[in-house]
Symmetry: C2
Subunit: 233 residues, 2 copies
DNA sequence: CCAGAGCGAGAGCACTGCTCTCGGTGTGCT
DNA sequence: AGCACACCGAGAGCAGTGCTCTCGCTCTGG
């Protein structure tokens, strides 16, 4: 894939990657707020102004990191191997999301926390962002989920989403997937941002139980042999 | 209430309030990231160094704003008048939360988005933060919710929370309240932070439907349906 | 082989949070 | 009433930031 590139192009791609890597390193340590272009340049031994040859602004660098984070999370989720029993598969996918979030909390905060710059350009991020809910849809499709009554307006929206996703789910089932989707990220966000500190502070048990409850809400049959296969640490 | 205060104390309280008001104004316009102590001082016609007589750092100012925001949201939620039918009351409370969030999105992002400074001091904020989940608990107490099976570890946590909240709910019901709590804020956060942009973008219908579904999940009878199916533990 | 695009470095601007010092002023105690 | 002291506002200053501009050097396509 690097064939046909001039030396300059290769150097540019390499340096772009190095800048992102260093930025990601600082992001993981100090958070998005502390990320400084000058500090990145300093760590790379280059003048701060040279960074602007690769990223026109700090926000553009952050946007690039956001897209990469979406992709990393998407890959982590898609790496979950399908299991015949949808409830178990569901549990594995949810656990993968949480595991990635806990392991990369600043990157998670970058994509699911409050938008850091004035406003994010949504169009570059919407495609990689869709990978995670799509993974949830794939699990749901493996089960035979009942439909459900939906108000007309919502039904139209959901059917449009079904078209985008190329999914065979019924609108009622898709709506429930969307509900569990928001629940999952709400719970993980609360855990990461300290909102559970007074209640379900070590959130493992709460997370595990909630995922099961949401699976039941979705319509996935819950495997009552809980001790057979436990959650991955 | 201002009796017994010296002129200096009154002036100090007044200026402290003025600083917070101006900061809140800038927050609402530009977001937390853009909030600048110097700009606040400039707007108030004072030297930037004088601000530090009232707030020792920018983060302290933000923390004060966070606590105020929690209280404002708490008041908005507690201002919801109880209704005899719990499902309706529930709906009103959830709608109040969303309404406040939409009307004060930067303040909402400040408290429920990613923690802006290195790390926030949690202990000053945990008390006002508890007002919102407590309001949800109060609604749940008005209904006769069934219990549910809980793993031992989670059950212990939930019972501890019940003690803190002084609630008469069963552990199973309390756990479901916590699940719906995280769902509610996950959904609102997704709407505010643009995560629903490709799917349920005008989120009114989705929100409305989800609140009803979560009420049914909780065990509140839906007012429009004769006898909704209760949750299955 | 050479014009022009790409590139790195440095200086510089306007801004930030924060500190320190310096006078003036209101306050509580004697 | 007088006074010591804590409090307060202003200004200068430090270190850091994002970003721009200009200057030479180098690699590249024609």
């Amino acid at each position: 894939m690097t064939a046909g590139q001039t030396a300059r192009e290769r150097a540019r791609a390499e340096l772009t990657g190095a800048i992102k890597d260093e930025a990601r390193r600082q992001l993981a340590v100090d958070g998005a707020h502390q990320l400084s272009l000058r500090a990145v340049a300093r760590a790379l031994g280059m003048a701060s102004s040279a960074i602007y040859r690769y990223f026109p602004s700090r926000d553009e660098l952050l946007t690039a990191l956001i897209i990469d984070a979406y992709d990393a999370l998407g890959e982590a989720v898609e790496a979950v191997e399908p299991v015949a029993e949808p409830a178990l598969w569901w549990h594995a996918v949810c656990t993968a999301v949480r595991g990635w979030a806990l392991a990369n909390r600043h990157e998670y905060a970058l994509i699911f926390g409050s938008p850091v710059p004035g406003y994010r350009a949504p169009h570059d991020t919407v495609a990689p962002a869709a990978r995670i809910p799509l993974a949830l849809v794939r699990v749901a499709e493996a089960a035979d989920l009942p439909d459900g009554d939906l108000p007309a307006e919502l039904r139209a929206q959901v059917e449009h989403v079904l078209g985008l996703a190329g999914s065979t789910l019924t609108p009622g089932a898709m709506a429930r997937v969307m509900i569990t989707w928001t629940q999952l990220f709400g719970m993980i966000g609360f855990e990461l941002f300290g909102q559970l500190v007074g209640s379900a502070d070590p959130a493992d048990a709460f997370f595990d139980h909630t995922v099961r409850e949401m699976a039941a809400f979705l319509g996935l049959r819950s495997p009552n042999v809980a001790h057979a296969i436990g959650p991955q640490p």
